[in-house]
Amino acid sequence: MGRWQALLWLGPSLVLIAAVVVYPAVALVRASLSRYSITGLYQGSVGAANYARLLEQDALPTVVANTVIWVAAIVVVTVVASLGIAQLLNEDFPGRRVVRWALIVPWAASLIMTSKLFVWLYDYYFGILNHALTALRLSAAPVDWLGNDATVMGAMVVVGIFVSLPFTTYVVLAGLSAIPGEVYEAARVDGASAWRTYRSVTLPLVRPALLVAVVLNVIYVFNSFPIVWTLNDRNPGFAHDTMITYMYKIAFKSSLRDVGLAAALGVVNVLVILLGVVLYLRTVSWREGEA
C-alpha cells in the first residue's frame, strides 16, 4: 500500500491534529523552558530551571495527592455504578426509553452549568441540601460543604461522579447489548446462578467496553477543569486544587503569576497522564485485542 495513498486518507485528520494540537503543544514545551515577567513578557530561555522550581513548590505534594484521590474516587465509583446501571438499562421494562433519555441530561449540560447548579445546591444558608438535611433531622446543623476543608473534596467528587455516569454507562451498555442471548441461555442451561453468570460470562465479555470507559474516564477526569474551578472558587490557598487547576492558578491567580512554571506543570501533566494510560493498557494487555 502506497504511503502516499495513506496520506490522502489520513490527510484531513493529520492536518487538523498538526495544526491544532501539535503546534500549541510545541509552544507549551518552549514556554516551559522560558522565563516570563508577571505581565507575560518573554524574558529568555532558562533551560530546565522551571522544572526544578516546580519540585520545590510547597503546595505540590498536596496537589498531587488531591489529584490521585480525585481521579481514583471518581473513576472507580463511576465504573462500578455504571456496570449496575447499564445492567438495568439492558433489561426490558416499561419506561426504559424515558430512563435512557433522563440519563443523558447530566452529560448534555455543560460542566460549568452543572457546577454552578451544585454551588447553588450546596449553599450553606440557602442551599436545598442543607435545608433537607436539617428538616429531616439528618444533621443537627447545616454543613458548609464548599467551605469546610473536610467536605470540599467529597462535594466535588460527587459532582464529578454525577457528570461521568452517563457517558460511562452508555459505553458499558453498548458492550452489554453486544453479548448474544445464546450465551446467557447456555449458562442457564448449565444451571449457573445469576451472580455466577454475571461473573464468569457477562464481565469478561464486557471487558473491552470497560477498558475504553476506564481509559477515557481517567483522561477526562484528570484534565477536568470547570468542576474544581467553580466549586473551589472561594477557598484561598491550594489545599483542594488538582494539578490542572493548580497549573492555571500558577499562571494567573497566585502571587507566582509565572507562565513558565505553569507551562512546566502543563508538560508534566501530559507526561503523567500518558504514563498512567500506557501502564494501564499494558496491564490489561491491550495489544492482544488488536485487529
Binding site: 514556554a31 516570563y36 515577567s37 508577571i38 505581565t39 507575560g40 513578557l41 518573554y42 524574558q43 450553606y124 444558608y125 440557602f126 458548609d144 464548599l146 467551605g147 469546610n148 472558587d233 472561594r234 477557598n235 484561598p236 490557598g237 491550594f238 492555571y248 499562571a251 494567573f252 491567580k253 497566585s254 502571587s255 503569576r257 507562565v259
Partner: protein
C-alpha cells in the same frame, strides 16, 4: 444516506469557509485593539461600542473592541503579551508591572494637557511609576460602611458604631437576635480579601508599608488580624467561614437578603439594594480605632501600550473617552465614582453618591505604584483568609506575607 452525507460535507466545508472569512475582525487598514473589563452586562459594551463607532467616524481608524469579564481578563492579557500581541489600550486594575516592563506610554505622550489637568490629584498619584503617569484613572470607587437599619432597631441600637468596641457590641447584639441573623459579614475569600483587610488595617493605624519598606507584619497589623480572627472564632459574630467567603456571592448577597447587620460595601451595592427595595439600609463612616475613619479608594486604570505607529491613534481615542460628557456618562451608568474634577462637580448633584463623594478625598489607595504590589495583592488574596479559620495563626500568616513581599520587591 449518501446524499445526506454529501449534503453534510458540503455544509461543513461551506460553513467553515463562510464563517472563517466573514467573521474576521478588523480586516485590512489601520486598527487599534481596545480591551475593556466587563463591569456590567448591560452598560459596558453598549457604551464602548458607541464610543468606538464615534471614534472610527472621526479618526478613520477601526477599533477591535474586546470586553472581557473580570474573572478571565488577567488570563487574556497575559496570553496576548506572551504572544507579543499586546492591546493598544487596556483597562485593568493594575498597571505598574506593565510600566516596569517598559510596555506603556507615559501620559505626556498620549494625553492632552487638558485631560491631564482634569484628573483628581490623589488618582494621579495612584497611577504614577517612577514619577511619570502611566496608569490613567478610568473610574473609581470608595467603600462605605453599610448597616441594616431594621436589624439595628430590633437590637436596640440607635446609631452605627464609631469605635471598634462599639462595633463588637453592636455585632454581638445583632447576632443575639437569633434566627440565622449575622452580626457582620466579613469577606476574606480570594476574590478581594486585600480590600477588606486594608480597611481594617488602616483603621487601626497600620499600613502596607512604613516609608518605602514593606511592613505587613507590623505589631498593629498583627493586632488587627487577631481582632478579625476573634470576630469569627471568639465572638462568633460573622457568617460561617469568613476566610472562604467572597464579597459578591457571599457577604453582599447575605446583606441583600436582609440577614446581615453590617457590611463594608460600595456604590454598586447601594444601587442593587435600591433596585431590590428589600433592605432598609444606611451608610456611615467606618468604625475606627485610630481616631479618624479611613476608607479604601480604588481606581481602575486605562493604559496605552507602546507599539510602533499607534501613538496618534491611541491619543485620539483616549482624548475622546476623557471628554467630560463621555467619561461621566459611563461612570454614572455603571454606578461608580468620578476621577476627574469636572466629573466630580457634575456628579455631586446626585444625593445617592454623597457619602462616597465625601469620603473620596480622604480615601487611601493601595500601593499600586509599586510593581511588587501585584504579587503582594495576589498573595494576600490567597492567604489572609487562612488566618481567620479556627486554629489559624494571624502572626504566622502576616510574617509569611511580609517575607514574600520583600522577596517580590527584590525580583524582576
Amino acid at each position: 444516506m449518501t446524499r445526506a452525507l454529501t449534503a453534510l460535507a458540503v455544509l461543513g466545508a461551506a460553513a467553515t469557509v463562510l464563517f472563517g472569512a466573514c467573521d474576521r475582525g478588523a480586516g485590512g487598514g489601520k486598527s487599534i485593539t481596545v480591551v475593556i473589563a466587563e463591569y456590567s452586562k448591560d452598560h459596558t459594551k453598549a457604551f464602548w461600542q458607541g464610543l468606538s463607532e464615534q471614534y472610527t467616524k472621526q479618526a478613520g481608524v477601526k477599533v477591535d473592541l474586546r470586553i472581557v469579564d473580570w474573572n478571565s481578563i488577567d488570563q487574556q492579557v497575559s496570553t496576548m503579551i506572551q504572544n507579543n500581541q499586546p492591546p493598544d489600550v487596556l483597562n485593568l486594575n493594575s498597571f505598574s508591572s506593565y510600566a516596569k516592563d517598559h510596555l506603556l506610554y507615559p501620559a505626556d505622550e498620549v494625553l492632552s494637557p487638558n485631560t491631564r489637568d482634569d484628573f483628581i490629584g490623589a488618582f494621579v498619584r495612584g497611577g504614577e511609576y517612577q514619577g511619570k503617569l502611566y496608569g490613567f484613572p478610568i473610574l473609581s470607587s470608595a467603600r462605605a460602611f453599610f448597616y441594616n437599619k431594621d436589624l439595628f432597631a430590633r437590637a436596640g441600637l440607635a446609631s452605627p458604631p464609631k469605635t471598634w468596641d462599639e462595633f463588637v457590641q453592636a455585632a454581638r447584639k445583632i447576632q443575639g437576635l437569633g434566627g440565622g441573623v449575622i452580626g457582620y459579614a466579613l469577606p476574606l475569600g480570594p476574590e478581594e480579601a486585600q480590600a477588606e483587610w486594608a480597611i481594617w488595617m488602616w483603621n487601626n493605624g497600620g499600613d502596607w508599608k512604613s516609608g518605602d519598606a514593606w511592613a505587613i507584619n507590623s505589631d498593629k497589623n498583627v493586632q488587627t488580624l487577631r481582632f478579625l480572627a476573634d470576630l469569627a472564632n471568639r465572638h462568633r459574630v460573622t457568617q460561617i467561614n469568613p476566610g472562604k467567603t467572597n464579597r459578591t456571592d457571599g457577604a453582599f448577597q447575605l446583606f441583600k437578603d436582609g440577614k446581615v447587620g453590617m457590611v463594608i460595601g460600595f456604590s454598586p451595592l447601594a444601587a442593587q439594594l435600591d433596585a431590590d427595595k428589600k433592605v432598609n439600609y444606611g451608610v456611615a463612616e467606618m468604625p475606627t480605632a485610630a481616631g479618624q475613619a479611613v476608607t479604601l479608594g480604588v481606581e481602575d486604570y486605562l493604559m496605552a501600550f507602546k507599539k510602533s505607529g499607534n501613538q496618534g491613534a491611541v491619543k485620539r481615542f483616549l482624548d475622546l473617552y476623557y471628554q467630560p460628557e463621555n467619561i461621566t456618562r459611563w461612570i454614572a451608568a455603571e454606578g461608580f465614582l468620578p476621577v476627574t474634577k469636572s466629573g466630580l462637580s457634575q456628579m455631586s448633584s446626585n444625593a445617592k453618591l454623597k457619602p462616597y463623594l465625601d469620603a473620596l478625598p480622604n480615601a487611601k489607595l493601595a500601593p499600586t505604584t509599586d510593581p511588587a504590589w501585584d504579587r503582594v495583592k495576589l498573595d494576600v488574596q490567597q492567604s489572609i483568609g487562612l488566618a481567620v479559620q479556627p486554629g489559624g495563626n494571624p502572626k504566622q500568616v502576616l510574617d509569611q506575607l511580609q517575607k514574600s513581599a520583600v522577596a517580590a520587591a527584590g525580583t524582576r
